[in-house]
Amino acid sequence: MSLFEIIGGFFLVLGSIFLFLGGLGIFRMPDVYNRLQAGTKATTLGAMSVIFGVGIIQLENDWTWIVKAMVILIFIAFSNPISSHALARAMYKGKTYPFIKSKDKDMDAYKEYIDNQKMEEE
């Protein structure tokens, strides 16, 4: 075992733990928005850490892997939040309203905006 393999393996294990927690979050959360929250954050850091770990393990044979891994990391960091934002917005426009624990009407500020828009259309 070389040093690169140990460090890279550490990142691989860390990434898979985060991915597992993300999966568990999707299983346990009550509605789509909370599931997106758990899913996005955990998969972003999980996937980033796994890809970075692979780059570090390959550092021994071929230095170009880590450069390509960094480019992929940047693409993941941009595309993951955008896709989850698009899903959340589409869900709200498709009339799936968020689960709200406390019976407080102010908790859903986006509803006002959607209602106003509907009034304008009519």
């Binding site: 985060f18 927690l21 993300g22 568990l24 979050g25 346990r28 959360m29 009550p30 509605d31 928005y33 909370n34 997106l36 929250q37 758990a38 996005t40 954050k41 955990a42 972003t44 850091l45 230095w63 170009t64 450069v67 390509k68 960094m70 480019v71 960091a77 941009f78 993951n80 939040p81 955008i82 989850s84 934002h85 959340a88 917005r89 709200y92 968020p98 689960f99 709200i100 624990k101 406390s102 407080d104 102010d106 908790m107 859903d108 500020a109 986006y110 509803k111 905006y113």
Partner: protein, 170 residues
């Protein structure tokens, strides 16, 4: 499409060319002459065709102070990302599922579209928040553990630390 002046076009062209060339070098990972020539020609054509499409940054983005702020922003962002994963882990693993979800809104001081996009993405990846929609300068944010529904307090809680740095970059 907006009408761009010649200086704007030239500056967009050069910025796009430099960024695309960096991506090319990163993906090919070689400094062989033939690779670089093909890359330079391809990225030149692409950046000429996309002068009107990618207008995020002017040539001023290469100013050293801004690059320092970008690196500082990355550090702040990475710390927030790791924090948010700890937060998700804590919520998911505790048996009582400690959440109090809701959607809050706040106003931002940023003006350009690209800086708003970066702020929205950063908010999605910070602890307990998910951007649902951005309408002009109002952000609608789903918050997994709502502490306040007041827009100003929500702004200080969620966005202030990123916005301070973004205002200096863009």
């Amino acid at each position: 499409m907006q009408n761009l002046s010649l200086t704007n076009k030239l500056s967009n062209f050069i910025v796009n060319w430099v960024f695309l060339m960096l991506v090319w070098i990163a993906f090919t990972s070689s400094f062989a002459t033939h690779e670089l020539i093909v890359g330079a020609l391809t990225t030149m054509v692409i950046s000429y065709l996309s002068i009107r499409l990618f207008t995020c940054c002017t040539i001023l983005i290469f100013c050293p102070v801004k690059i320092m702020y970008m690196i500082w922003y990355l550090v702040v962002f990475l710390i927030a990302l790791i924090n948010s994963n700890m937060d998700v882990a804590r919520r998911v693993l505790s048996p009582s599922l400690p959440i109090n979800p809701g959607i809050v809104k706040f106003k931002t001081k940023l003006t350009t579209n690209y800086s708003k996009m970066v702020l929205a993405n950063s908010i999605t990846l910070t602890p307990g928040t998910l951007t649902v929609d951005v309408v002009d300068d109002t952000f609608y944010v789903h918050w997994i553990d709502v502490k306040t529904t007041n827009p100003e307090e929500a702004y200080t809680e969620i966005a202030e630390r990123f916005e301070k740095i973004l205002l200096k970059i863009f």
